[in-house]
Symmetry: C2
Subunit: 598 residues, 2 copies
């Protein structure tokens, strides 16, 4: 059976020593008083909840799965899930970074980010139930009417109700412009909604008394395509004026999917049979409103894979120290044992360090993004808010795609460390691989992320935001360019930054002549960008570590960080050499293949 | 539900047009009469068996799994498995390339190779039952006493009985030197065997009246470690002198593993409680005898992933043509539809072509290896036999590791083409990923394969065999060096061949000073070698295609082959740029990480 220890020390390092979040919070009125001690105390408790309440339900939840009673349309979640949720609500965890106006604790997002990383390590399938609520909360908070906010936000904040995103239909996932669910205006200002949705995560369950579905649908006179989509809030139970639950709404679960993983989460087919809903935001502007939710969800999906990477790593590391098999190539290490622990083998170390480096790089990036979100929402200076939002928009597809691709690779490698035992359910490793797999698919496939990055976020504004990230890299290069000890961390990112600038211009020109050139390069480009970002954060982490060591700090944490950074630059970062080459290979070898793909 | 069409045309291309197997067979007395028509007719029938009998049981077998009755120790395989096996035996498929002296059909291994590729596409879990028998057959054929051969080979040839390999124990997989199962000599020349084995594929089932277990165990006076291991044949039912079944032997299934995939195959814990066995080969030379089986099994595992790659590709291709979603970046393609089929998107093509190129490269390599095996066993010239065996030994770890790593990547990409539907069981794609995963682990993990390749097969003989493969590449380069049309296929392998030669010398020197340098480079090295080999075969396939086109052949197959080869060299082969770099990065960044891995 796997184990899990919350990585509090590394979170503290990233937040307090690298990003210095408390200094940043001083400029943000709602968080000006939030200091390191507060954050650490919250996360320590959060880590306990993750490790002690959610984690023990992970394998059993996978084995049991969810059950639908077709006669009542009610779903039973795996044993213990409901009770764990009650503890979650009782502990106030749902409210962590919600608006105090609706009962929230108002803590910065970066705290919620770290809490959710631990929850995802502990139990991704369980964590998706409250996780989806956050998206619904954000969306209603940004676009709901005063009445909608009054009805729904306090309950979503407390966790008394959960929320969902009902987007996908059988014939459309990526291409929401094709959706068919109808919304007919009623005399009382509500809408009568009819349609069929699929793949609705946490779409039905027995944890809460109500579920707040946010549903994309079309008005009768809506333009075709994505410009004719509106957003509606459709609760499972209608809500009376006094906030009490009214009659059952005609929105129910028609089936549950049998999936590769995340068995503990109910992936529901949702039948909407003339249900009553109210509109969120403006008519035909539903996609824009939904994107508030989607962007939060994309960061959340990256965080799911970050969590899985960390827990897979911890267990593979423990196994590699414990399992004895063969002798070290360079001579016996454990003379008192019939064989050496497998951690003596270089490739076992490589697999472990890959997962560790991806976890630590991902953690730095995710915290940086959460801090940008805090600034976007709370900084008094509009320019800072705007620039923070733009930088976050640039980094969001990288978080979603790069961290989830890495997470699948890392989970696969950690499983490999276990040899045959990694393939057996009871060890828990194969579940991490199966769970991690969905993160590359949902909330926009990783290919879609790459097109969002290169097409919209980079070429769409002539590389302006990318240049701002490049400036951060440039500043670090300038700061540390003469520091010999930093050369091994600085030179690679300086070189790659230059390369990317050139290639971005090149692909911009090519794309104007043939847009397929952008599509052909995008996935490779995103991975290069991901390495530039990870490289930047590893360099910053190394910078802090070197300074601490120079100042006489003997905490082995800093030497460990340098070792991981060195590994990263020597063994993972060089992937960019191939990626630049294949990105440059162009679209012809892909598109002139009608006969090969006949 | 997935579909499967046997890739007979591509098999014929590889066998008859690229490798010209019938010409080679003329030199092999047992196969001198085997012509293309015979091979094609057998494979056409074999393809029907795979597609019509084994394939329909793939998803149901995965869903049902195997069931153990703990009171009788009997295992029930999924519905239909037993009946399909009866048809397999009835059709004579078990005997395809077995020795006519024991009732076999004596066809070349290359035919069996292609037949088994199709069986693996159809149903890997089912195919493992007869597949494991082949290893037991080969081992007894090479090392059994006359009596053992007389008793066991006819039944294994007909398929009336199946065989297993009982190697792994709970505390030892890779490191068989640690094994503890005991074999005590008895007065009648038999051995009394006691111990516990795990992970025994096809270890118990209801398909045949007897199961022939080949068991590694230690004699009482055996030296410690791998030099003290002997091999025994331990049948489930003892066999009377007249060949009829005697009493139940004390070897039984104590449990079945719950696994990530290959649910239809019974992965058994085997309890051996004073069972009666006879020795195969010499005392304490069991590992050598077992390696006959292991080498066959390693080629077989590569073939499993080749089969999965092909079937995953076929289904992803069909889906990509059928599923409409978004418009092409370069303008609407399907004007009559509300969206374009997703095959218009460059990255969807990239995922499809990756799987196709890995399937076609793998098929060429596997057939080449099967032909080497035929030559090793049947060529009248001892020198040819020896050299064929050496070349096969060099290529075996590449087949095992490169094709299985590629297969997992390909299955994952083909699943990705399906978007969210790829994560749902009914589409069948997630099963291919789960099944493909084991192939990177069993029969020696892919790390072990890389050490076998670099440490033993290459540095172990100072690169002598590698040079022979290099000579094949050199010949092709010389033949086609002045052919402009071949330059795009020839230049990359000529360059990489040079690079590898240099790096092999370099790593040989470094390894003498520090053996961990070999361990640190081996996995990357194997993938480079894999690309050199695939590159060589793609160049040879392109050579044939270009010649056919030049001769006026208008079969679109040849243009399709050139398109796939171009894609391969442009988008997959460049991985070697990174791999050479990371292989050269050395062992220090892996081994000086005790603090990071604390």
């Amino acid at each position: 059976m796997p184990t899990y220890t919350p990585p509090l020390r590394d979170m503290q390092f990233v937040m307090h020593e690298v990003l210095k979040v408390s200094d940043e919070f001083k400029a943000l009125p709602p968080h000006a008083e939030v200091d390191a001690d507060t954050i650490n105390a919250v996360l320590e408790e959060g880590g306990k909840f993750a490790a002690e309440v959610a984690f023990p339900l992970n394998i059993s939840g996978d084995t049991e799965g969810c059950k639908l009673d077709k006669s009542t349309h009610e779903v039973t979640t795996p044993q213990g899930f409901k009770e764990a949720y009650a503890k979650y609500v009782e502990g106030g965890w749902a409210a962590l970074s919600c608006d105090p106006a609706y009962g929230g604790q108002g803590l910065p997002f970066v705290v919620n980010q770290c809490f959710y990383e631990m929850m995802n390590s502990a139990n991704q399938a369980w964590t998706m139930y409250p996780g989806l609520s956050h998206g619904a909360y954000e969306c209603l908070h940004a676009h709901g009417t005063e009445e909608q906010k009054k009805i729904y936000l306090p309950k979503l904040t407390s966790g008394e109700w959960t929320g969902t995103m009902c987007l996908t239909e059988p014939h459309c996932g990526t291409d929401l412009g094709l959706l068919r669910t109808k919304a007919e205006p009623q005399a009382d200002g509500t809408y009568k909604i009819t349609g069929a949705k699929i793949f609705i995560s946490a779409g039905e369950h027995d944890m809460t008394s109500n579920i707040v579905h946010l549903v994309l649908a079309r008005l009768p006179d809506a333009p075709v395509g994505s410009k004719g989509i509106s957003l509606f809030v459709v609760p499972k139970f209608k809500v009376n004026a006094d906030g009490s639950l009214g009659e059952r709404n005609a929105i129910y679960c028609g089936g549950l999917e049998h999936k590769m993983g995340i068995h503990g989460n109910a992936t529901a087919q949702i039948v909407i049979d003339g249900a009553t809903g109210t509109m969120v935001g403006q008519p035909n502007k539903g996609l824009a409103a939904m994107f508030v939710m989607m962007n939060a969800a994309r960061l959340g999906v990256g965080n799911q894979s970050l969590g899985l990477t960390e827990v897979a790593y911890q267990n593979a590391l423990a196994y590699a120290k414990d399992r004895i098999q063969m002798r070290s190539l360079s001579g016996t290490k454990a003379k008192d044992k019939p064989a050496d622990p497998i951690i003596v083998h270089p490739d076992v170390r490589k697999m472990l360090l890959t997962a560790k480096a991806y976890a630590e790089g991902g953690r730095a990036l995710q915290c940086f993004c959460a801090l940008l979100l805090d600034k976007e929402l709370s900084h008094p200076d509009e320019k800072v808010r705007k620039e923070s939002g733009e930088m976050l928009a640039l980094l969001t597809p990288i978080v979603k795609a790069f961290i989830t691709d890495n997470g699948y690779e890392a989970a696969t490698m950690c499983q490999q460390v276990f040899g045959g035992h990694g393939y057996i359910k009871e060890w828990g490793m194969e579940q991490y691989v199966r769970d991690a797999r969905i993160n590359m698919i949902y909330e926009g496939t990783n290919t879609i992320q790459s097109l969002d990055l290169l097409g919209r976020k980079i070429l769409g504004n002539n590389g302006a935001t990318l240049k701002k990230f490049g400036k951060l890299v440039g500043q670090l290069v300038e700061e540390e360019g003469v520091n010999e000890k930093m050369a091994e961390f600085i030179n690679p990112i300086a070189y790659l930054g230059d390369q990317m600038t050139k290639f971005t211009t090149e692909i911009g020109f090519r794309g104007m002549q043939n847009p397929d050139e952008v599509g052909a390069a995008a996935v490779d480009y995103l991975r290069v960008a991901g390495h530039l970002v990870f490289g930047y954060f590893f360099a910053r982490m190394a910078q802090v570590a070197l300074r601490e060591i120079a100042a006489g700090n003997t905490d082995p944490f800093y030497q460990a960080k340098l070792q991981t950074a060195r590994f990263y630059f020597a063994k993972l970062f060089p992937e960019t050499a191939t990626l630049m080459r294949t990105a440059r290979a162009g679209s012809k070898v892909l598109m002139d293949t009608d006969l090969a793909l006949a």
